[in-house]
Amino acid sequence: MHNEITGKKAQIGETMTWIVATIIIVVILIISITISNFSFGKNRNLKAEQDSDILASKSMFAYLLASDSGKTVYSQIKGEGNLNSFNGNLAVKIFNPFAEEYAGLWLGVADQRDAFPAVSNDYFLARRSIGENPYSRNNPDIILEEISLDENRTVALVLPEERK
């Protein structure tokens, strides 16, 4: 009689253990399914990493070819070493739409011997408020378009890699 009761208790105990184990397994599976359904699989937007911007690049070429009094913007910047009133304001007008697309934008004269020491100008550092020398040439997270002025200097257009 005593043995029968002890045996039944043991069976109940073992059964309870497996019921609890089953519940734990099912709960873990439900959590996994929920996570895989709603977290990983939800946003599968493919975004290409951008290391150039074709429209900005083409706009920059056209900007440097534009002329005032028979002198191209390229020649003006090369001769004066910085943006002047004409080409500075023209640059702001041309690149304003890009400044709305990207978190920041800088255009000006840079020295290609160093990482990115830029000659400050009144048209981008002040107006865009993105700080002095905000980007490094070695920074992989920027889009950098540079046109050589001479062996040391370039006209540089700098955009952050990510569009807004």
Partner: protein, 164 residues
Amino acid sequence: MNKGGAEKIFSVYWFAILFIVAAAIVYMVSSFYGKPYDVRDVETGLLTDKAATCLSLGGYITGNWQALNNNTFLAECGLNFNVEDAYGWNDNQYLIEIEFLDFNSGLVLKEISVGNPNLKLDCAVEDRNFPVCLEREMYTIDKADRQYKIKIFSAVRKTEKNAQ
């Protein structure tokens, strides 16, 4: 007798657990990998870049831009709006609109529209079941130093394949 019965019950229980776990893993994998990648952001970007490359070369607007029209644009720019014969798409999944504007006055000089114009109506809705749209602009000049702004609007639908 009882011990043998319990073992049978346990083996059935183990098979049941094995089946549940296997089914859950299959469900998780299929729910994760079964959803397609949404590549329409990339597609609209590529479409815009391709149009920009076609319309401006080395900073200058393409020589024949005034001759371009809705019928010749795709062939001239090497684009093809044919899509796979699925979901009853009927080659109406793309739209590209080009506006040539005078840079200083903003006057629209020419408009080109190719593809399904109805896609533009749905662009205001930011939902994955609606078309993905992109509007960008660039600056360009011609050989006579006239300045232009080119606005490129592109839209891709293909929701059945990208947003299941």
